[in-house]
Amino acid sequence: MTQHLLITAATLPDGTRADLRVQDGAIVETGSGLSADGGRVIDADGLQALPGLVDLHTHLREPGFEQSETVLTGTRAAAAGGFTVVHAMANTLPVQDTAGVVEQVASLGAQHGYATVRPVGAVTVGLGGERLSEIGAMAASRAAVRVFSDDGKCVSDALLMRRALEYVKTFDGVVAQHAQEPRLTEGAQMNEGALSSELGLAGWPAVAEESIIARDVLLAQHVGARLHICHVSTAGSVDIVRWAKARGIDVTAEVTPHHLLLTEQLAATYDPHYKVNPPLRREEDVLALRAALADGTIDIVATDHAPHPVEAKECAWPEAAVGMVGLESALAVVQEAMVETGLLDWSGVARVLSTTPARIGRVTGYDAPLAVGSPANITLVDAAARSDFDVARLHGMSVNSPFLGRSLPGRVMAVVHDGRPTVLDGALLEPAEVTTA
């Protein structure tokens, strides 16, 4: 089962070029003119090498919603997008709130082999927002859960959030908060502002996100706990996170690719493919998010990959499901929004899409990217490519991408997950070539 690989002439994140030799799942040698030693050679001349991408926010939908996505299809989408680790959100059915469910999800990922699946544990039983779930059991399980979130729902009860932050600290975990004050967003459909007034769509005000973030950074400071903020979407949220970090509060934050590129103006089409939670915001929010990601105020990009069946988007906007698939387009969108604009170089991309999300999720093996001795998780990108993003690029079960038809740069050409290829020559490998079962 061990594979010998030689990746030749790849451009590393720091701009230098090197060969990488992979054996028994690890990078064993770097340099130039390395010998293939009888293994497979991947010609990476002209390709950008990145450490395998790590998504802290993925909805794999299994168990319970297999008409939208499964662990297999979701991790195929992940591999196609250059990811080697995904964090599977807890809003499954049954909810990932016990050791049994998180172990099942993790083992499905391990069996399929496309990407490491790190389940996220629910903060509260059944995402009900009332009682803490068995956080200790999930942490101690074979899934070794370290990220806890009720994502999709906000832990809005202040006392419960305080307890969660404190309790999770016991297990070196982190609470990832979906910051959405529920009462302020009842029936909300899109960003609240002049456009929502015109369109007659109920507003999702920025203050509903910002007030929760403000409360939670203060709670995190008070109890000395680690806090992660999911999908930050407003300029005001950026200000609060910046303020908190300046005070030394242990907070990290993520932004989604779609919030880095798309604005609320797309809601004027009433096309539900642009309906997402939190909603697309104003141009000035997009620019503030980009600047915050560039200066480190926002730590990472996370996809919030949210597959839905076709019928969930084939209806009037207010009746449509919220969410977008994002695994396959994430790197291209980050290149478009951050690299092409000069805000981030490729080492910055490696930081926000691999090293830092791995650190937040306590995923081992990503702290010394592309170095000898590290597990071989490698993504090779043709950064010079550009094409219209089309449905053939989507490898999950659902096609609710807001980027279809949009010209985007970059193309994932090869992915190595724990020493084994999942993508070669720009094509996703078949399950039989990838499975570890």
Binding site: G193, A194, S197, E198, G200, D271, A316, W317, E319
Partner: protein, 317 residues
């Protein structure tokens, strides 16, 4: 005109042409046989996912006066089954050979979604979508104001300089939106009066002035005062404390009505909550346009159905 989805995208020329065509349609009603053969052989489907007998009957009367066949699908009856999607219902009626769909739907944007979906070929007329627009209501209100001001000399005129004040639940009102866009396109000066909770939070892009004081608005002697219907659910969700306070601050009471300028007309899209947003003294007065609005609604809807179904309307210029 392929569809009528909103008044937002109507030009002044197009809007005046629709109002003028409605004048022609109104003339038909005065004939011994108030019926035109214009749309014989065409079928109009009233597709109502939300109950509105008034609007449905108005469209039905309009279609029949133009000799079109009318099929009605209503959420109240069994024809729109609960939970059936817009797509399935629309495709079902399209399969019956329908030329135009008049759509009332609780979701904002539903008419635009249907028109842009490719699910059906038929023309789409928005008969009210959520809290977005109700364009034929805006048109009939503009028509009614013009008619009151200019009578038989209405044809060809816009509403330049006419001062219209709209009072009430602006934020949830599709009637208010359609009126704001259309009246300002026609040159009217539109002002809005409501408690701050019922005004859109940011209306800087709206071509209006906004305030909270109905007495000041009345003292300014507008040409037209439009009172919007108050929904009981607004009170329970805390937009204002109770009916008493709303009526006291924003209702057109008999006392306020007495202070209204002698030539200020009063409009209401109906159905009215007498004693809440409007008093009987106002509603039943000679300055009330309420019943004319109903009559004019049929003429406007005849004009709109004619334009979307006749193919060539001359308004593309």
């Amino acid at each position: 005109m392929k569809h009528l989805l909103s008044t937002r995208d109507l030009s002044r020329v197009d809007a005046v042409r629709i109002l003028d065509l409605a004048e022609d349609m109104a003339d038909v009603a005065t004939r011994a046989v108030p019926k035109l053969p214009t749309l014989r052989g065409k079928t109009v489907a009233n597709l109502f996912f939300e109950d509105s007998t008034r609007t449905r009957l108005s469209f039905e009367a309009a279609a029949k006066r133009l000799s079109a066949e009318v099929i009605t699908f209503s959420a109240k009856g069994s024809s729109v089954s609960k939970g059936e999607s817009l797509k399935d219902t629309a495709q079902t009626i399209a399969a019956m050979g329908v030329d135009a769909v008049v759509l009332r739907h609780p979701a904002s944007g539903a008419a635009a979604t249907l028109a842009g979906s490719g699910w059906i070929d038929a023309a789409v007329v928005n008969a009210g979508d959520g809290t977005h627009e109700h364009p034929t209501q805006g048109l009939l209100d503009a028509y009614s104001i013009r008619k009151r001001l200019h009578g038989a000399g209405s044809r060809g005129r816009d509403l330049d300089g006419v001062r219209v004040t709209i009072v009430g639940d602006i934020v949830h009102s599709r009637v208010a939106r359609s009126n704001v866009w259309l009246l300002s396109t026609l040159g009217a000066e539109v002002s809005l009066v409501a408690p701050a909770t019922l005004l859109p939070g940011s209306i800087e892009r709206w071509p209006v002035t906004a305030g909270h004081d109905l007495d000041a608005a009345i003292a300014a002697r507008p040409d037209a005062l439009m009172m919007l219907r108050v929904q009981a659910e607004r009170m329970t969700s805390g937009f204002f404390p109770n009916e008493r306070e709303y009526a006291r601050e924003w209702g057109l009471s008999a006392e306020r009505f007495a202070r209204l300028g002698a030539d200020t007309m009063v409009l209401h899209p109906g159905p009215m909550n007498r004693g809440l947003e409007i008093s009987s003294a106002a509603a039943d007065s000679a300055r009330s346009v309420v019943l004319e609005q109903v009559t004019n609604g049929v003429s406007i809807r005849m004009a709109v159905l004619y334009l979307v179904l006749s193919g060539n309307d001359g308004t593309d210029a």
